[in-house]
């Protein structure tokens, strides 16, 4: 029972039965009333504080996971453990005709909901699960719905490619329509993707965890050099190199076909040369870029080479980079990446290559790949995600989470 000040007044004024008392003097009676008043008001304060602290996990916010496979809910479980809350009760499954069905088993009326969604191999199903869950919560009158999507899918399809689609923009519109009002993600492939959204996007960074790993787990890291596997990754590599006070090297060449070459903006297909027609206007053809053979700019002789990137997916580029680094004298090769997608036969290629260790975070589930290739190590980032959730819910500043981040990271 919550005592409020109004009721206390009546308690104070109305006669109070005190057990075991025979006869009370008037002066004593006033003293007793005063004591009761003080104790009641103290109790009232304590009771209201208890009400606040005890009920914040229950009525403040809820955390749901919209994944159907148990490998994906691992990260959600770690985050909820750190927050000290229970994962929301819901059932997510695929029916026999492959339709996704979601059942939310508790009331979410008027609450702030965080949906944690990790993206496994089956990307489209995971997206659908997230959309269905968000819409279900929206129609159940949740106050606001915040998506926690550590690895944001389709982030590589964020530029116009010939007659393709900017899927990232499509996805952003779909998430807004489904009812999300805020997204927490990690290491977006292109920071500009934040502009596709009509609501706030918090782009957390995994680099503090990875730099800590380098400082703690790489023996003799002061003799290391940070390597960018292509010129487009040079900015990120430089920010790591600055923070660790190490040197920088860049790999450039034929084998490194960067995706920026494939995203050719609005090229129409080349028009057929009309020799019979118009004699006047002949636009000069663009000279094809000549790619030199693969080479390393910078000195890696006798050092540990650490390649940093945001996503490690198809590993052919990394394997080629490791080859050339080995040739130039690097004696150990590490790869640090935030999102370890490791598709197709990446584990086998890594196992057979010159790479010594691949370090990824647990934003993308990769247990199967770890079993196939013991060179893969995991860094847990649930701490920063849990902290972000806590701060957003309490309305606190997130600046602390970005304090050591360079402009180019």
């Amino acid at each position: 029972m919550l005592l409020n000040r109004q009721r206390l007044k009546y308690l104070y004024l109305s006669p109070v039965q005190i057990r075991g008392s025979a006869f009370i003097q008037k002066g004593e009676w006033n003293y007793i009333r005063k004591m009761i008043w003080i104790h009641c008001s103290c109790l009232c304060d304590i009771a209201s504080k208890l009400h606040f602290t005890m009920n914040v996990p229950k009525t403040g916010y809820r955390v749901f996971s919209a994944n159907s496979s148990s490998a994906c809910t691992e990260l959600a479980k770690k985050i909820t453990e750190r927050l000290g809350v229970e994962l929301g009760k819901s059932i997510v499954y695929q029916e026999s005709n492959r339709e996704t069905r979601i059942d939310v088993k508790e009331s979410v009326r008027g609450q702030t909901i965080f949906i944690i969604q990790t993206i496994p191999r089956d990307v489209n199903t995971a997206i659908m699960e997230l959309l269905v869950m968000a819409y279900a919560l929206k129609t159940s009158c949740a106050k606001n719905i915040i998506g926690v999507i550590p690895y944001f899918p389709y982030s590589k399809q964020c530029k116009m490619r010939k007659r393709g689609s900017i899927v990232c923009k499509l996805l952003a519109s779909m998430l807004a329509k489904a009812g999300l009002s805020h997204i927490i993600t990690m290491d977006l492939h292109q920071k500009e993707i934040q502009g596709f959204f009509s609501f706030p996007v918090d782009n957390l960074r995994a680099s503090p965890f990875l730099t800590q790993y380098i400082q703690e787990e790489v023996p003799d890291y002061r003799n290391a050099i940070i390597v960018a596997k292509s010129p487009s990754a040079a900015k990120r590599a430089q920010s790591y190199a600055e923070r660790l006070r190490l040197g920088l090297a860049v790999i450039h060449g034929e084998a490194q076909c960067a995706e920026s070459d494939m995203a050719d903006g609005r090229h129409s297909p080349p028009c057929v040369r009309n020799t019979s027609g118009h004699p006047g206007l002949e636009l000069p053809l663009m000279m094809a870029k000549e790619k030199p053979p693969i080479t390393v700019v910078g000195d890696v002789g006798g050092r540990i080479a650490i390649i940093v990137d945001d996503i490690i997916d198809d590993v052919e580029d990394f394997v080629a980079a490791a080859e050339i680094l080995k040739e130039r004298g690097a004696y150990k090769i590490y790869i640090m990446a935030t999102h370890g997608l490791l598709s197709a036969d990446a584990p086998r290629l890594i196992e057979e290559s010159a790479i010594d260790e691949v370090v990824v975070t647990n934003t993308v589930p990769h247990e199967v790949q770890k079993l196939q290739c013991p060179k893969i190590k995991t860094v847990d980032v649930s701490m920063i995600l849990a902290e972000a959730i806590r701060r957003i819910h309490n309305g606190e500043s997130m600046a602390y989470l970005f304090r050591n981040i360079a402009v180019d990271d």
Binding site: E95, S96, N97, R98, E99, T100, R101, R121, D122, V123, N124, T125, I127, M128, P153, Y154, K156, Q157, M160, R161, K162, R163, G164, S165, I166, V167, K169, L170, M174, S268, D313, D314, L341, S343, A344
Partner: protein, 285 residues
Amino acid sequence: MPNIKIFSGSSHQDLSQRIADRLGLELGKVVTKKFSNQETCVEIGESVRGEDVYIVQSGCGEINDNLMELLIMINACKIASASRVTAVIPCFPYARQDKKDKGFFDIPVDNLYAEPAVLKWIKENIPEWKNCTIVSPDAGGAKRVTSIADRLNVDFALIHKERKKANEVDRMVLVGDVKDRVAILVDDMADTCGTICHAADKLISAGATKVYAILTHGIFSGPAISRINNACFEAVVVTNTIPQEEKMKHCPKIQVIDISMILAEAIRRTHNGESVSYLFSHVPL
């Protein structure tokens, strides 16, 4: 026909090819592939600037993948300056979770009916059709069944059941008479086929001579095929809104009605700005 392009998603290329053949067009060039991280990538292979684009994609198989592919294709066409993009979705996914009613969409919806094709099939393939009974396996399909029964000028019956939970049936009561007649079960979709197999047993035990099942969408997931093989159907007829070649190999009772001409005619009429309501009661040749 000028200014029209038809693209096919990867869910039902056969139907799209038939539609294109009936319209006398070639299917548009589009490359749909998946990256190694299972992300879908779509690239339209020809210019769609200023064209009226139709994308044919059915909600079957891996529904979420096909849905995503459809969305990406529509998006790609819009960015490439198509003048109008229409999605042709023979089997609309997630239709049991929400109603695919006109009021739920902000854009024009044309919901075509397979009924004319079904009527034509019955007249051509069931010799005793003049003396048959059309049966609905549940009370919700009564309207559909009475409309067919009226056009054929035959009787109808329905089976009333109490369900414990979805995809499991409880008691079934037959309302109407099927004794010594051919019974034709009509429903809109068959997923695990629990309902229609129970209904068939009920009809046989009530005295029907033969039982046919005619379903618009044959999803046939889970134990459906084995259930049909063990049940007492004369034939199970579905339309080709969902590809059926694989299932027909496992179950000889399945027959297919081709509805590509209805879709092709709808596309032609929409493109020319004509009325589509003719198709609600007639099957184009």
